[in-house]
């Protein structure tokens, strides 16, 4: 199943409809799955067995190598696009191994070497400090106030969430896109550049952390 971490369902809806999925395709409008499972970026996934028990904690999840990785960076792009392109090409790629592990578990269930014990699942789950838990509370409160009182009501709480959990890219990109997407746009802005509302932006933040790799939770397979 897929879950869109989008506070506005209509932002995710067109993509979901276009995909015409045959699996449950839902929306997490409060980023509750982030708090519940430890999602800090997308795409990430957890595996759950037939008894409702996790057999793999939240990890970056991809089953197909992106063609972007094998493309040459086009010449003549604006500097920020070139930098973003290069950063994307450097994202660690575990797609082939992850796909194989997933298929193994689907076939073998508990007998799969990739199905972890409950203790292992907990131990390998994302670290969560008190600051990071407070970030989750700030994000949720900000979103609640946004719904009741408008977008500006979220800002101070979302700024605090970014400060408390700097490696949570979903909190950041969700907030940034709401201010950088032009009114009337049919898609959310993906570049999330400098803006007057939040201290940082996608490219500067990623480069400041040494690349997208800082935000990837590589599966230990």
């Amino acid at each position: 199943m897929t879950v869109a971490l989008d506070v506005v369902p209509d932002h995710a809806r067109p993509w979901s409809e276009l995909a015409a999925p045959t699996h449950p395709c839902v929306v997490d409008t409060t980023h509750a799955t982030g708090a519940a499972f430890g999602f800090t970026n997308i795409p990430m996934a957890v595996w759950i067995d037939e008894n409702g028990v996790l057999v793999r904690p939240a990890e970056s999840a991809s089953i197909e190598r992106s063609p972007l990785r094998d493309m040459d960076v086009p010449e003549g792009l604006p500097e920020n696009l070139t930098a973003m392109f290069r950063a994307v090409k450097e994202i660690p790629d575990d797609a082939e191994a992850y796909r194989a592990a997933l298929l193994d578990w689907i076939d073998k269930g508990d007998e799969s070497a990739f199905a972890l014990s409950p203790d292992e699942v907990v131990e390998r789950s994302q670290p969560r400090s008190s600051d990071e838990a407070r970030a989750a509370a700030n994000f949720e409160l900000g979103d609640h106030l946004r719904r009741l009182h408008g977008d500006d009501a979220a800002i101070p709480f979302w700024r605090e969430a970014h400060r408390l959990h700097p490696l949570n890219l979903t909190y950041k990109r969700q907030a940034w896109t709401l201010v950088t997407t032009a009114p009337g746009a049919t898609e959310n802005d993906l570049m999330q550049g400098p803006n007057e509302v939040y201290e940082s932006n996608l490219l500067d933040d990623v480069l400041g952390h040494g690349g997208f790799g800082a935000f990837i939770v590589r599966p230990e397979l």
Binding site: M1, T2, V3, A4, L5, D6, P9, H11, A12, P24, C25, V26, V27, D28, T30, A32, T33, A36, F37, P43, M44, A45, V46, I48, D49, E50, G52, L54, V55, A61, W105, G109, P118, D119, V121, V122, E123, P127, R128, S129, S130, E132, R134, A135, A136, A137, N138, E140, L141, H144, L145, L148, F157, T170, Q174, W176, T177, E187, N188, D189
Partner: protein
């Protein structure tokens, strides 16, 4: 969990946090945390529960609401491997329960439009 009061019905606390008050304490999956004072009749004293579970409490005095964050007992995102059942929504606005998929293997993949 969004709150407008720091005393909430047990059922509401359990539904929203996954932590259920029992005689032995506050429990989730196989984990139980002693929490004397957390239960007040059929209500939960949120401040006491939050302190025992390491849950942050953030408030907006201007709007008279609080947000209770996730537990930090073991310093990990998960306290138990028993999957939570967070509030998810179908595109028609109806609630979707992850637990409705019990009996199947589930790969829950998070994505976004941004």
């Amino acid at each position: 969990m969004i709150l407008d009061s720091l005393t909430v019905p047990v059922s509401e606390f359990a539904r929203n946090t996954g932590w259920e008050p029992k005689p032995e304490g506050l429990c989730r999956g196989e984990v139980c945390v002693p929490a004397p004072g957390a239960l007040d009749g059929d209500h939960v004293n949120v401040r006491v529960a939050a302190e025992r579970l390491g849950m942050p409490l953030v408030d907006s005095p201007e709007h008279g609401v609080y947000a209770l964050g996730p537990a930090t007992l073991g310093g990990r995102a998960l306290d138990t491997a028993v999957a939570a059942d967070p509030e998810l929504m179908n595109y028609d606005g109806s609630r979707f329960s992850l637990s409705s998929l019990r009996g199947k293997k589930v790969v829950l993949v998070a994505w976004s439009s941004y």
